[in-house]
Symmetry: C2
Subunit: 355 residues, 2 copies
């Protein structure tokens, strides 16, 4: 089953407030006693770390149905695909040392080994589901702690490579789709500022260092120390709640200017159907308008399932996986345009008009 067909993946399109919240992520940073922090590991020690994790975690992985992937066995394209499915971070992909990832088939759980911290557990949900994702993360964290000795200080909490993660080692984040706010450049700036004032970090869809595009914003808690997990979740929920109200208000206004809305949406559809050269960032921006239009029940727009396919398959790694070889950026822009035209040119198959 492809990831966009699976309702339980982060990209499933369901869940609470899914008109605005694409997905929820809870990430826990953990380290293992007896090993230096990742930044200090040499190749041999890194091998030892991966080896130890593999041996100790195999029973848990089996029980949970997780797959073990040693990253050095993968091609750069396959690694990029994992980044785009959010199973590994760009940092893990870039590592020269032995690393690995354990993940479930639905891409809702991933445990990276050898990232900035020895272990980085990620739990994803579609829509807004911070508490549910946290409970799952918590449960898995307990299971991991039974397999491996985790570095923990009674004074500071979980010890991490970077002090900003020390304490809970937790970062909670949500990916928000804010097209109405983004249509007014000033409003999105105000929104970003206001989230920062509430102690949140705002990033692009692929985390640290990624540009905001497609009107997608990843919002996460800045601090991890000095607050309980539930307090962190509560503060993110508050910030996200504010954004949701703001975006919905502006969408309501948009709904009262249906011509303006249709103009933006159908220009985007027309451009996607016509383009023969299409950059990743332009594709995301245009897809954003289609998602917005679909939420307003405008006709002839791709279903959420098709939208999810377009979203994932137009990413560089997925394009290259589809082509069966590496593509330079120019080739990708051609392949992306071709793929988009193909998917959008079969309204009966792909535009969600099937029952």
């Amino acid at each position: 089953m492809e990831p966009w067909e699976e309702k339980n993946t982060w990209l499933g399109g369901g869940g609470e407030d899914s008109d605005i919240v694409i997905s929820t992520r809870v990430r826990l940073a953990r380290n293992i006693e007896g090993f230096s922090f990742s930044t200090k590991l040499n190749k041999k020690e890194a091998e030892g770390l991966v080896q130890t994790c593999q041996t100790r975690l195999i029973p848990l992985a089996k029980q949970e149905g997780w797959e073990w992937v040693a990253l050095e066995t993968l091609s750069p394209v396959s690694k990029q695909v994992l980044v785009e499915r959010r199973l590994i971070s760009r940092e893990l992909k870039g590592k020269d040392l032995p690393t690995a990832v354990l993940h479930d088939p639905q891409a809702t759980i991933s445990l990276m080994i050898g990232e900035e911290d020895h272990l980085r557990l990620q739990v994803f949900r579609s829509g807004l589901a911070l508490r549910e994702a946290f409970e799952t993360a918590n449960r898995i964290d307990d299971q991991i702690a039974e397999c491996l000795p985790l570095s923990f200080s009674h004074q500071y909490g979980f010890l991490t490579t970077c002090p900003t993660n020390t304490g809970t080692g937790m970062r909670v984040s949500v990916m928000l789709h804010l097209p109405a706010l983004a249509l007014t450049q000033k409003e999105i700036q105000k929104a970003t500022n206001s989230m920062q004032e509430m102690g949140m970090t705002v990033r692009g869809p692929y985390g640290e260092g990624s540009q905001a595009s497609g009107d997608l914003f990843q919002v996460s808690n800045q601090r991890t120390l000095g607050a309980s997990e539930l307090e962190l979740i509560q503060s993110l929920e508050n910030a996200v709640g504010t954004m949701i109200l703001w975006e919905r208000k502006l969408r309501k206004d948009l709904g009262e200017s249906p011509t303006f809305l249709k103009d933006r949406v159908y220009r985007a559809l027309g451009t996607l159907r016509g383009a023969h050269i299409l950059s990743s960032s332009e594709a995301l921006d245009l897809l954003s308008m289609l998602r917005l239009g679909r939420l307003f029940n405008l006709e002839g727009l791709p279903s959420h399932e098709t939208w999810n396919r377009l979203f994932l398959l137009t990413q560089p790694g997925h394009l290259m996986e589809n082509a069966g070889r590496e593509l330079d950026p120019t080739e990708r822009d051609l392949a992306r345009a071709r793929l988009v035209r193909k998917i959008l040119s079969h309204p009966d198959d792909s535009l969600g008009t099937r029952p």
Copy 2:
């Protein structure tokens, strides 16, 4: 018969070098003995002028099948339609005094009465046909001279209100479609400069004061004095010939980048099909790409006939005529988008796929 269906109109799409030269115009400025120049006329004198012309020219008009239109009987919308069909100038439309125009049903000949000069004769042809248009203008000029006493000095030639027109009183111009040059902003600047160096004036599609849009450029001779009509025609032919070679060279290059070409053309088609708000200048720019694509035999593009319909019917006056009332600019942008979507959404009817 609508103007875009008539092969003999300036917008017919035929004629020599019609891949680049949309149309040719020869204009003669003439004044009538016994009347002050137009700028000095009061209402009564202007009435007298129009009256005299009507009386004296009726036999000729009858013989040639021309229609007499007194402009004060027309609504502002109808006047604007005449401007867009190029039968009257924007200056004539703006006059407060009595004015008139005589024109043939195909809109290839128009004789304005009461413009900057008493008489302004225009002859239009589609494609490049300066000599043919000149011969027609010359023949009509002789016929007019038999009906009315024209102001002529053996020293200076035909006398005109503005000294820049004195002499031949002739301005020859062609409307060029230069999309390949315009796709490279630098090249179009070079081309414009080089035409000016050859003594040509470069304007937008609706003459003096109009912005270049749709990659359409009206090129005309700057001087009228001290050269014969045939010398003026020759110098414009030379300048236009240079432009034609230049544009064709760049189109050949474009043809070697078919993906780039298709990207521009089908994005334009997609945008025209999707837009719900469409300004006149954006419409012209997008239509320019469709015309270019059609010349490269790309599929699914409007025929020249449909293109001509789109070109004329999206002009403000034609939109208002179609709506049966005046429209403000915002209403026109909606009406224009609606009309374009309608015409482009019936490929069987309108896209020239009929035999």
